[in-house]
């Protein structure tokens, strides 16, 4: 039995990658560690369950990575996706640490595999977990338990007692609240993407139409408490990792299989059957992460990817079959769109398509002329029946609003002073390095690097 009346050195709130890395590293520093996970054992680990890989810098190829990925290249990629909205010092620190984390994670029992099929040419930059995120998580839990980390499930933390930047205790459970004390706190409880009411504060009614790709547990309770107790806010509350996913996906936890990779092969129209963005702007791995926001800006937050028989097998399959019809008006009717409007949109698009040599593996020369918005690559006439459509909605992966931290993963208070014994890791502080945009696998890098640092520093803090 776990003794909640005992005073632990380090209390970790959360049960995902960041939390477990923190727990393991604190325990390896000699601290007594308690992990409080809101979910049950099956659902443990929040969004880590849905991950697949992490992006770490490395100087040479390995058994599972096809080539080097230098710190500078990683930083340039980060600058590109965030448009410079990042804390350069912290980002460079994270990238430097990520090199060492690659081996450290492996030492905690996680296995890598070479990138095989199903990946967006990430074989050089990203390390893939054998068996995916849940396998990775299971390995971390096994290691944590072997080391003597205490893990308690179904233990939602509902309140924190904080005085002048000093964590004193946490209240666990709603019905029979229990007070837990510890010398240091690591907050690794995720973002607030599952809290629709909170999202609504920034997005208005549009938030009701968002689908949440991962855990329903990331309601941001801990983030909110920390901010209320004077932790310094970082990040734009509307910024998040959002992709366009199948509108038929469940509200929560649909994960990777509701993702759609068909956008570059067709056109995307809104509820009014009008196109609204260049579907062929750049290669899909560089563009998939912008489509969530694009769809979020459309009426009713819904859009439809329309393509024809010639493209059906060019992209990864997904959970739901496409909606199929023999003519464009028939397709429109099935989608509940104005048949005449969709026919006109497709006709106008088809008329604008210029001759070219289609090649979906490169930025080809198939483009439209005098069309607004244009389609810059892979533009082919939509003319071969049957015609297909996927309805898409914004799929929110995680939010970027968080608590500011320093290189020790120590929370910075709003007066600029570091907290006495509070640390943060993972989505709850992702906004420090990820101001906007997304690069595949970077969420896990943030979790592992800052989790490991937070655990170590919390353990040292508890000793002093």
């Amino acid at each position: 039995m776990i003794d909640l009346s005992r005073r632990y050195d380090v209390l970790v709130i959360g049960g995902g990658n960041a939390a477990l890395c923190a727990a393991i590293s604190a325990r390896r520093e000699g601290a007594s560690v308690l992990v409080l996970e809101a979910a049950s054992e099956f659902w443990r680990g929040g969004n880590t369950r849905h991950t697949r890989n992490m992006r770490c810098a490395h100087d040479s190829a390995t058994a599972s990575l096809t080539g080097p990925y230098t710190e500078d290249e990683f930083f340039e990629d980060l600058l590109r996706v965030t448009g410079g909205v990042t804390d350069e010092e912290l980002a460079r620190f994270m990238i430097r640490e990520s090199k060492d984390v690659l081996g450290w994670i492996e030492a905690q029992g996680v296995r890598w595999q070479p990138s095989l099929g199903g990946t967006l040419s990430l074989g050089r930059t990203n390390s893939f977990f054998l068996g995916g995120g849940r396998a990775m998580l299971n390995a971390l839990y096994r290691t944590a338990e072997r080391l003597g980390v205490e893990v308690r499930y179904l233990s939602e933390v509902v309140d924190l007692e904080i005085e002048n930047g000093m964590f004193l205790s946490a209240t666990v459970g709603r019905e029979v609240p229990v007070r837990v004390t510890a010398r240091a706190l690591v907050a690794a409880a995720g973002g607030f993407e599952s809290n629709i009411a909170w999202l609504r504060q920034y997005w208005g009614a549009a938030a009701d139409n968002f689908l949440i790709r991962g855990t329903p547990n990331n309601r941001g309770t801990i983030l909110k408490i920390l901010l209320e107790h004077g932790a310094q806010k970082v990040g734009d509350p509307t910024q998040c990792h959002a992709v366009a996913i199948d509108a038929r996906a469940p509200k929560y936890d649909g994960g990777i299989i509701t993702r759609l990779d068909c956008v570059p092969f067709g056109i995307v129209v809104n509820r009014n059957a009008q196109r609204f963005y260049d579907e062929g702007e750049d290669i899909w791995p560089k563009r998939y992460a912008i489509w969530g926001r694009l769809v979020a800006a459309q009426p009713d937050q819904i859009a439809y990817v329309i393509f024809d028989a010639s493209s059906l097998r060019l992209f990864m399959p997904s959970l739901f079959p496409p909606i199929e019809a023999l003519t464009i008006p028939e397709l429109a009717t099935k989608l509940g769109l104005d048949a005449e409007a969709l026919r006109r949109t497709v006709e106008t698009f088809n008329a604008a398509v210029q001759p070219g040599t289609f090649n979906h593996k490169i930025l080809d020369d198939c483009r439209t002329a005098e069309l607004d918005p244009p389609k810059s690559h892979w533009a082919r006439r939509i003319e071969t029946a049957p015609f297909y459509a996927y309805p898409v909605r914004p799929g929110i992966t995680f939010t970027y609003l968080g608590t500011r931290v320093n290189r020790e993963a120590r929370i910075i208070m709003s007066d600029g002073r570091p907290a006495k014994n509070m640390f943060a890791a993972g989505e709850i502080m992702a906004g420090n390095v990820l101001g906007r945009g997304y690069a595949a696998g970077i969420g896990m890098t943030i979790g592992s690097v800052f989790g490991r640092v937070a655990g170590r520093e919390a353990a040292r803090n508890a000793r002093n």
């Binding site: 595999q113 199903g118 990946t119 054998l130 995916g132 096994r142 990864m316 595949a440």
Partner: protein, 374 residues
């Protein structure tokens, strides 16, 4: 449309898995799945027989129950595999024995042992049956060698023919040309994969038995069972050569090759099946197909009985117990041979055939598809 509900469920799962692909590093099933977009009954039979039921993908899966997507690949493929044995059974009138296989194997064994015992009792006076026989040809005083060869050769031949027809239907159903079965590279690769049980290791960590913690015990016990069985088979084969080529009659001394091979193999065939039974006993019921429990256990027990009666016969062959033990051992072995096409034994054959096809497909696989980021 699929022939059974299980096949329809397997199709649903493969559609889910094909959209995810996180498990592609675990075994051969997922890479084979990725080469397809839709799944016919034959495709599903092929994928099901590639599955070694290591269980890793169940514990690694973010969509396994209680998730609403309810993804349980090991259990559903085990069920699909079980149904495929019945579907391809020859003659098809015997398909039904897979439904109550434990009972069928138990009855067949009981009948076979009873027949040998009754025969021995009917043909010999008690003095011969309970006498002590030593020296060359001791066994054959109870059952003449030619009679033994006729009975067991016949049973073995029948098993080969029946299994052969089963494989032929399987191969046609999965749509693979016969030429693949003559492809030396594919055969060689399948032999290596089968000999090492390459895919019973959860992608390297070990198969998962009672929970998400990987262990390697099933692979070890299966090796003991399989190689024990092969050594016993080699023992019988060398004894036949001794008999016909060297004119040396059984029983042989303990240092003779047939006895050495049989003893070592027999010990493996005792420890292996016991280990497999114990592992099955402890197994997480979630990843099991409960409908094939009887079939799995019956086959393990048959192997155990074979080795146990064989070793007992070896130990007591120079005592008055030999006659009855010989009848017992021969009864069990005869039942093992005759039920080979109608029990768990076929798993090895279909698995091997599936591995041959996979080796060919895998080699032919060119470029990797583009796919999902996180």
């Amino acid at each position: 449309m699929h022939a059974t509900k299980t096949l329809a469920e397997a199709d649903r799962l493969m559609t889910v898995c094909n959209s995810c692909r996180y498990c592609e590093g675990l075994c051969a099933v997922f890479p084979a799945m990725e080469m397809r977009r839709s799944f016919s009954d034959g495709d599903l039979a092929y994928l099901a027989n590639l599955c070694h039921n290591c269980g890793a993908c169940y514990y690694d899966c973010q969509f396994s129950p209680p998730h609403e997507f309810n993804v349980n690949v090991p259990a559903v493929l085990a069920k699909t595999q079980h149904q495929s044995y019945a579907h391809y059974a020859w003659p098809s009138a015997f398909a039904g024995v897979f439904a109550r296989n434990g009972l069928f194997i138990a009855l067949a064994t009981a009948l076979s042992v009873a027949a040998f015992l009754a025969g021995f009792v009917a043909w010999h006076d008690p003095a011969t049956l309970f006498g002590t026989h030593v020296g060359p040809g001791a066994f054959y005083r109870l059952l003449p060698h030619n009679m033994m060869v006729l009975l067991f050769g016949g049973a073995f031949l029948y098993a080969i023919v029946a299994i052969g027809f089963g494989i032929r239907s399987f191969w046609r159903d999965i749509g693979e040309p016969t030429a693949t079965l003559r492809d030396p590279t594919a055969i060689g690769s399948a032999i290596r994969d089968a000999a090492r049980l390459r895919y019973l290791d959860g992608g390297g960590a070990g198969c998962m038995n009672e929970n998400a913690k990987p262990t390697d015990t099933r692979r070890i016990y299966h090796h003991l069972t399989f190689y024990g069985f092969l050594l016993c088979f080699a023992s019988t084969s060398t004894a036949t050569l001794y008999h016909y080529l060297l004119g040396l009659q059984a029983p042989y001394s303990w240092w003779d090759l047939p006895v050495l091979l049989g003893t070592v193999g027999g010990i493996g065939l005792v420890i292996g099946p016991i280990g497999l039974l114990a592992a099955k006993w402890r197994r997480d019921p979630a990843v099991l197909d409960e409908t094939r429990y009887g079939m799995d256990v019956a086959f393990i027990l048959m192997l155990l009985l074979t080795s146990f009666t064989g070793l007992a016969l070896l130990a007591l062959r120079a005592t008055p117990a030999m006659g009855i033990l010989l009848a017992l051992h021969l009864g069990v072995v005869f039942a093992l041979f005759i039920t080979m096409p109608y029990g768990k034994f076929v798993h090895g054959i279909y698995r091997f055939a599936a591995l041959v096809r996979y080796a060919k497909e895998h080699r032919a696989l060119g470029t990797a598809a583009s796919g999902p980021p996180n």
